[in-house]
């Protein structure tokens, strides 16, 4: 048992003003709509900067475009989807229009990815060791022996007991928690500048999720990371900054404290009120009425307006993502900063 007393490290907080590592500008990802003249915009004009040492949470529900944004960063948007507009820069280098072989180098060297389901992120017919050594040899110009040693340390680093023996193991021989640790080891083995974790703990049980979040906090507190999650609670545990996405757009950004204590966008307010908290008064949950727009819907104006209690006629026009009292918001009618979430 270990007891962790620090949340996201202070080091990471002070690094909020650090160098921009990754810069995304006006990203648009489209999918063709069968039998319709217009495409579906899964990601619709997303811009953000990721700074050195920060953990940025990308929070949203299914269909919000959060995973598609992450896949764009790696150049692996599934066909027939395509990046239509925008640019992605890793430091000073544009990476969204690289040829495949160079992109591959970026994926291994510069950006490490942890997927939700380790069974799909790992090769089921190859041992853990061979997958780790392959990645190390491809990206680090080392011998097989050296790679094996690197693989051993990678497993040891993510808290896998008996790492030497685990190198021989196949993914199916490991528990869900251990598999996710192997995925993390694989993502970290070449010391990438940026780590992207897409719902990395969603498939895990609560006590195992706590272990992985603990690992993130201990090992990755100074890493530059994008954490994609639907769970505001998970984001609260390890993120420095949060971007809330809805229908392919960013609707609110702020530090974790800002977003949790004074959410401004009605969707963020709604998300927080819909989650059960341990409260003996057991206030009735406040659901967000209706459902998010689907790929078939053509959205005009604010995409959240049909579900929004505060929608007005001006919400028929699309609100831009702008600074409002120091918070980046896309809303004509934000909740006031002093108003408490229910």
């Amino acid at each position: 048992m270990s007891i962790v007393s620090e949340s996201a490290a202070d080091a990471a907080r002070t690094a909020l003003s650090g160098d921009t590592i990754l810069s995304v500008k006006d990203l648009v990802v489209e999918f063709p709509r069968p039998g319709q003249p217009t495409n579906f915009r899964a990601v619709n004009g997303v811009s953000f900067d990721l700074r050195q040492g920060e953990t940025l949470g990308l929070v949203g529900e299914s269909g919000s475009g959060k995973s598609m944004t992450a896949l764009s960063l790696l150049g692996i948007v599934p066909a027939p989807g395509k990046i239509i507009e925008g640019s992605i820069n890793l430091r000073d280098r544009r990476i969204d229009d690289l040829p495949v072989n160079e992109l591959r180098r970026v994926r291994g060297n510069d950006i490490g990815m942890v997927f939700q389901d380790p069974m799909t992120g790992l090769n089921p017919v190859r041992s853990v060791g061979s997958q780790l050594t392959e990645s190390a040899m491809r990206h680090q110009n080392v011998s097989k022996r050296e790679a094996l040693e690197i693989a051993y340390h990678a497993l040891d680093d993510v808290g896998i007991p008996a790492p030497r023996e685990r190198l021989q193991a196949f993914p199916h021989e490991l528990s869900g928690g251990l598999r996710q640790r192997v995925m993390i080891a694989l993502a970290l083995i070449n010391h990438p500048e940026v780590i992207i974790a897409d719902e990395a703990t969603t498939a895990l049980d609560a006590t195992i999720q706590a272990q992985i979040l603990d690992l993130f906090r201990e090992r990755l507190s100074v890493a530059t990371m994008i954490l994609i999650t639907h769970d505001m609670g998970v984001a609260a545990e390890i993120c420095d900054r949060i971007m809330v996405m809805y229908a392919g757009r960013i609707v609110e950004t702020g530090t974790i404290e800002e977003v949790l204590t004074s959410p401004r966008h009605p969707y963020t307010v709604g998300l927080l009120s819909a989650v059960p908290k341990f409260d003996i008064r057991r206030p009735k949950l406040v659901p967000i009425p209706g459902i998010p727009p689907t790929a078939e819907d053509i959205v005009r104006g604010c995409p959240f307006a049909p579900r929004c209690r505060f929608a007005e006629s001006k919400c028929d026009d699309r609100p831009a993502l702008e600074y409002t009292d120091g918070r980046l918001l896309a809303c004509w009618n934000p909740r006031s900063a002093t108003e408490q979430p229910q």
């Binding site: 006590t207 609670g233 609260a236 545990e237 003996i280 967000i288 009425p289």
Partner: protein, 358 residues
């Protein structure tokens, strides 16, 4: 007095509508070994009450649900519904029970036939139980759709035209068709988005208020179970480790596993230096269970005794039970928000609790 009928028309002496006594379910694992899915669990759900069963994957909670529905044969123990022992009833004898005991499943994508119209989905139980004429059935379908907040024209559409949350509403409507007195819901919201989960939880709460059904809800999310349940049972590796009124279990957890589960639940609250207990290792396999207390290999306060002697589920207060030799000796390591004010259960001294990690 034998078999008196109470005001609600129930038979028997038990206060419970749905009851399991020492239920035991095993499966045959590869190699001829026994998988102990559920071992000696007893539970009772009173009329109009909500009982929540919490556990992680592999804890046996879904097996409990399916066994209560008689989809698995128990190796031992009894299932009693409304005073009647239904453990060994055959399908024909079960028909009247099935009418009154219904189930909602986790995944509304696989629990609804994709080719059937919603009318057919909801009216199937009505037809199977010879509810009435076609007109009466159609009226009932319309009434049910309204109860779960769907428009009447939904009846003519097929499941693929609905979102996950709407499909779960349809599944709830189907389960209510025969006016059951008890409903078993196995992870009814875990496949849904956060904003939609609250809709379904509130729907279940409303329906229970209006229709006075007993609800047995199974979930991995302790916060969610606390939100909806009157009483909570916590399960680990096929066995109950703690049970009691919801606020007490969450406010004053006695078993170290409950404490760990509580501490592991991420909550969207800003926390400067939040402390948490992180259990090491994975839950053991139900094929090779550890001796003594099943939880001892992961227990933060394990003692020698726990490795060899299995602690019995012991009553420590009204409706309050725990299976731990050192119950109540581990405090939740962080503030539990609004739960600070829960009165201590009788017989529990706050002074004897050693606070961990401080």
């Amino acid at each position: 007095m034998t078999n008196p009928q109470d005001a609600a028309g129930r038979q028997g002496n038990s206060e419970y509508l749905l009851e399991a006594e020492n239920l035991k379910v095993t499966f045959r694992a590869p190699g001829g070994r026994k998988l102990h899915a559920v071992d000696e669990i007893s539970l009772g759900v009173r009329p109009r009450e909500t009982v929540g069963l919490v556990g992680e994957s592999g804890s046996g909670k879904s097996t409990v649900a399916l066994t209560l529905m008689r989809a698995h044969e128990p190796e031992g123990g009894r299932i009693i519904f409304d005073g009647q022992d239904i453990t060994h009833l055959n399908e024909r004898e079960l028909m009247p029970v099935r009418r009154r005991l219904q189930m909602v499943f986790q995944d509304p994508y696989s629990s609804l036939d994709p080719r059937w119209s919603i009318r057919r989905v909801i009216s199937e139980p009505l037809k199977a139980h010879k509810y009435g004429t076609r007109q009466q059935i159609n009226d009932r379908v319309a009434e049910l759709l309204e109860q779960v907040g769907l428009p009447p024209d939904a009846a003519n559409r097929v499941p693929s035209q609905f979102s996950g949350g709407q499909r779960q509403r349809i599944a709830v409507a189907r389960s209510l068709a025969l006016q059951p007195s008890a409903l078993i819901a196995d992870e009814p919201v875990s496949s849904l988005d956060v904003s939609i989960q609250a809709q379904i939880i509130n729907l279940l709460r409303d329906l229970q208020d209006r229709l006075h059904i007993a609800l047995f809800i199974i979930a991995h999310d302790l916060a969610l179970v606390h939100q909806i349940s009157d009483r909570i049972i916590v399960m680990y590796l096929g066995e109950p480790v703690e049970e009691g009124p919801s606020d007490e279990v969450v406010g004053h957890p006695q078993h170290p596993y409950t404490v760990a589960l509580l501490s592991a639940t991420p909550v969207p609250e800003p926390g400067g230096d939040r402390k948490r207990i992180v259990l090491t290792g994975d839950p053991p396999s139900p094929i090779a269970r550890p001796n003594g207390c099943r939880f001892h290999p992961r227990c933060p306060i394990v003692q020698e005794r726990c490795r060899t002697e299995k602690p019995p589920l012991t009553t420590i207060g009204p409706g309050r039970k725990v299976a731990c030799w050192f119950a109540g000796q581990m405090d939740p390591p962080r503030d539990l928000w609004a739960l600070q004010n829960v009165p201590l259960p009788p017989g529990v001294e706050p002074a004897k609790r050693a606070s961990l990690g401080s």
